[in-house]
Amino acid sequence: MGKGAGREYSPAATTSENGGGKKKQKEKELDELKKEVNMDDHKLSLDEVSRRYQVDLSRGLTNTRAAEILAQDGPNALTPPPTTPEWVKFCRQLFGGFSILLWIGAILCFLAYSIQAVMEDEPANDNLYLGVVLAAVVIVTGCFSYYQEAKSSKIMDSFKNMVPQQALVIREGEKIQINAENVVVGDLVEVKGGDRVPADLRIISSHGCKVDNSSLTGESEPQTRSPEFTHENPLETRNICFFSTNCVEGTARGIVISTGDRTVMGRIASLASGLEVGRTPIAMEIEHFIQLITGVAVFLGLSFFILSLILGYTWLEAVIFLIGIIVANVPEGLLATVTVCLTLTAKRMARKNCLVKNLEAVETLGSTSTICSDKTGTLTQNRMTVAHMWFDNQIHEADTTEDQSGATFDKRSPTWAALARIAGLCNRAVFKPGQENVCISKRDTAGDASESALLKCIQLSCGSVKKMRDKNPKVTEIPFNSTNKYQLSIHEREDNPEGYMLVMKGAPERILDRCSTILAQGQELPLEEEMRDAFQNAYLELGGLGERVLGFCHLYLPQDKFPRGFKFDADEINFPTTNLCFVGLMSMIDPPRAAVPDAVGKCRSAGIKVIMVTGDHPITAKAIAKGVGIISEGNETVEDIAARLNIPVSQVNPREAKACVVHGSDLKDMSAEQLDEILKNHTEIVFARTSPQQKLIIVEGCQRQGGGLSAPSLPPPHPAPGPALPPPGVILPRQAADMILLDDNFASIVTGVEEGRLIFDNLKKSIAYTLTSNIPEITPFLLFIIINIPLPLGTVTILCIDLGTDMVPAISLAYEAAESDIMKRQPRNPKTDKLVNERLISMAYGQIGMIQALGGFFTYFVILAENGFLPSTLLGIRLDWDDRSKNDLEDSYGQEWTYEQRKVVEFTCHTAFFASIVVVQWADLIICKTRRNSVFQQGMKNKILIFGLLEETALAAFLSYCPGMGVALRMYPLKVTWWFCAFPYSLLIFVYDEVRKLILRRYPGGWVEKETYY
């Protein structure tokens, strides 16, 4: 993860409401912010600046004044997004979701107990215990979720305060190093190469200062900073440095013109966090599901409450039924299961460099339909590298791979040696010290990006550049400037102790103009028309690849005119700079990361649109886009079509072009509708020369797309999937972001998508598994009330299933491998493809659950029959059965049972019903492994799942046979045969579902799929 430079993904959502005045106001502010930055400091003269900020331009502020301003403006830091207090978070875990239902259950229990306590002398403690258990369940699961959340946010906090920034300010004429936080408006600040700019600065003096504004504009080309006012637009003018950008080389002094949130970056940061309105898709899915289940529970509970009152039960009994129904209906363990599943995936993703802060964001990438990716650093290596060379009238390809595994070229040509010498000598970049053990291409350098690229290239192919420079010491040099567009230096010759050599590099056409000969195979030949054409072709070709091309030439200075000791004067230029010998071209590019083309291809087959957003030049952008496959082979832009058909661009039907490169300046004039049009009609889009504000506009546009504009009659768009990339390097949104790519690698996004989709599938399976056992839990209560049989399954055993045996198997489904290539299907449609849909409910509740319930009831009837109560006797027996004073209840054989004796049998039935649910849940677990494939195709490779099967069985056996359970949980040992009662039903579930899946596969799109494929 390098320097900890992360990129943020905020699963943002559009604001669907057009809310009240306050909201509108905020939107207006956002809109204003999206337009270009307003400031005029760059237009002022130095005196005016000095006056405005009341600062002495050489001595800086006084300490007292600085303290005053600090007190007035606050520290120079971005305001972190408002955090929710810990106790609110805790309460949210404690009272959110199903918890509230369980709390109601617990309160009803206590209520029932207190009523009983008042009415009877020896109240049964069942209700008290149950109430305590329910409350404990809620508190424990609440604490668990809270702990999970706290743990992941702690990881985040460790990122926050990684490096305290320092700044060099001049106050009262003294240079002092202070924390960047304490920098105030008006401070005189000095920055040098390698520093991060501590605030927005108006430059007052500079020495070869260059800044890398890529964190703000996305443009990786370092830009010169000097006191001159060069452009109306503050983002373009040279005399402003921006907060959080980096100074690459040189030094500069500037006056702080704004700090903290008032800086340009600060405003963009707040803009970016303003985008984050909606919740993650999975959060909405879970909420939808909770509402569904709660609705069912409340509906069933209330209707049976009323029904039992009508049937003549007492209030107390009705309340106890209500508790039972609530407990049976709420899958108590499910939310914990979901949390664990998401945590597991989050961990897995963290291993693959995707750090997930908010667990619910795990799935977000999975439902992504569009990825807007920044070019620099994410798609590319963020490292200028020499890609091609032209010498000996031939284009040679250099190795641009990250690990130097690529092709190499013939290095034996003497021309190459000359070219390498020029590139090494006419070059001011050096490696930073102390990196001897780092591989060359990854070393840090001081110097501008192209020179560093040359340095690395030469170091790689010819050995130490430092030695070369030592052997050919530099005598004089003319640094690059924008008027002559070349850089030259004169060196003592290593191979000739008497002579000097002049080396020059610069813009190729300018260099060529200065040359009269050309080096070919080590021979110096006159530069003829034919060679010029060859040069022109090569130059165009390399330029067309989006590469930055430099020309190189040299001249051995004649010994007679320039003997050793000659005083070269770089200002007077007392040496020849024309009639040089042209050696070759070298071109550089920030090459794509190795894994990116593959990743983009995966995204494409996964139906995800990849949009590249960059501050670079359109040609470079397009070349990179083609290189990584964002513009795929054979797809043309409007311009390409125009060029091919030889017609003006305006005559081309834009619909014909699938690819398109949009220039930032065009985007500026575009309306939202036009942007939507572009996003909708082109599959391959590149935005070039975009500012960060425009990036946000693009992201919003993408979110509108996800909302489904094709159906205007639909309600306001749902928050669209489509994680966006806010401007890189923005520190603030990282705290707000739900997901961080630790290595800035686009390939990590693809892993994220894959894991996200997998967890969505697996959560479905897990939920289907857990929900199924709800039916065998609730039917006993319903039949108990309706046909008056002894209660087949008690609340305690229900909790044992929900919180005991079902947990590990449900979690194990999170480890299930994908059934098919999940990266080959379209992203899910958040409107139609729900986590829990009616088909899942129909399968879980209507079909498998019913078979399970029958399995349980069968066991129940077997046990009672074998103990003397045949099924026919049981109907309507409940009143006598539960009558404490009836101690001679007759069974089918005429035997008489005391209350306690028959209760033991009843609780044995609860235990057996519970064991039967475990047995049928085996089959359920196996069928839930797959949604379409047969389990024979899928295999039983999931070791955790097998462990889950064993674990639930062992737990059930433990609960039944452990001595003392009869007292503690009222669970009794079962006779061995009773375990087998549910086996036929278990088998039935398996066979039924295999047949269903077979039909599903045989007749895709058929009725079975429409009704049962969840």
Partner: protein, 305 residues
Amino acid sequence: MARGKAKEGDGNWKKFIWNSEKKEFLGRTGGSWFKILLFYLIFYGCLAGIFIGTIQVMLFTISEFEPKYQDRVAPPGLTLIPQVLKTEISFSISDPQSYGQYVEGLNKFLKNYDSDQQASDMIFDTCADKPDDYIMRGAFNNAQGQKKVCRFKREWLENCSGIADSSYGYRDGKPCVVVKLNRVLGFKPKPPLNESLPAEVMGKYNQYVMPVHCSAKKEEDADKVGPVEYYGMAGYAGFPLQYYPYYGKLLQPKYLQPLLAVQFTNLTYDTEVRVECKLYGENIGYSDKDRFQGRFEVKFDIKSS
């Protein structure tokens, strides 16, 4: 704005219930509803069939004459008539209403023991008039038809038979309770070995009688209970063995279990008196949890006025 949204929501609801465009009711067309309902009809039909099938198979494996397991019903419970809530017999001597329910309970229970109910010699066997050994009546099946049952004469309960005193002593503040041992099929109660028995029980020991003894629950209440009269077969305070084993409802539908009437002739009035009746026997067990296994407790609260 919220209202606008609500309205929209209403519209969606209405549209969900009945979408006139697509002719959908609750999101499905008539045909779709028909198909899914038909599917569930068939599905549940099959399930019901399978369920009934498995239940039938299970019933095949079970004998109609004796239950498969009896480990939960034995050792049997000891119960009393009248059956009362929280086993509390509380009445006032002067108010016949207050003990009406007890008398009625006894009447109802003892009806089966009337001699006109025991007339048929086809069903009833005349067993010995004094305690005797178990009477085995063959295997637990109907190969020989129904099994005969021993007669039990209501008169043997004497003062508590309800024949002479239709109020079973309640009128005089000397309440009777009838004690019975819960029927357990095939169960042969074994009389106790004489060592460990209380002296009172030892006194009337008979090797063919399961002795019952009632006494104060707490030592200090002993004088409040007063003398206890036992009326059973041949004056024995217990259950004679010739009534066992029980052959079940199918083979002995008219089975009369031996009874023992217990009369408390001098209970202290106007206070709660807790009495425990206990059956002694080798294969009789007691449990802390089950307060009716092999013994029971009854609380008397008789108001003198």
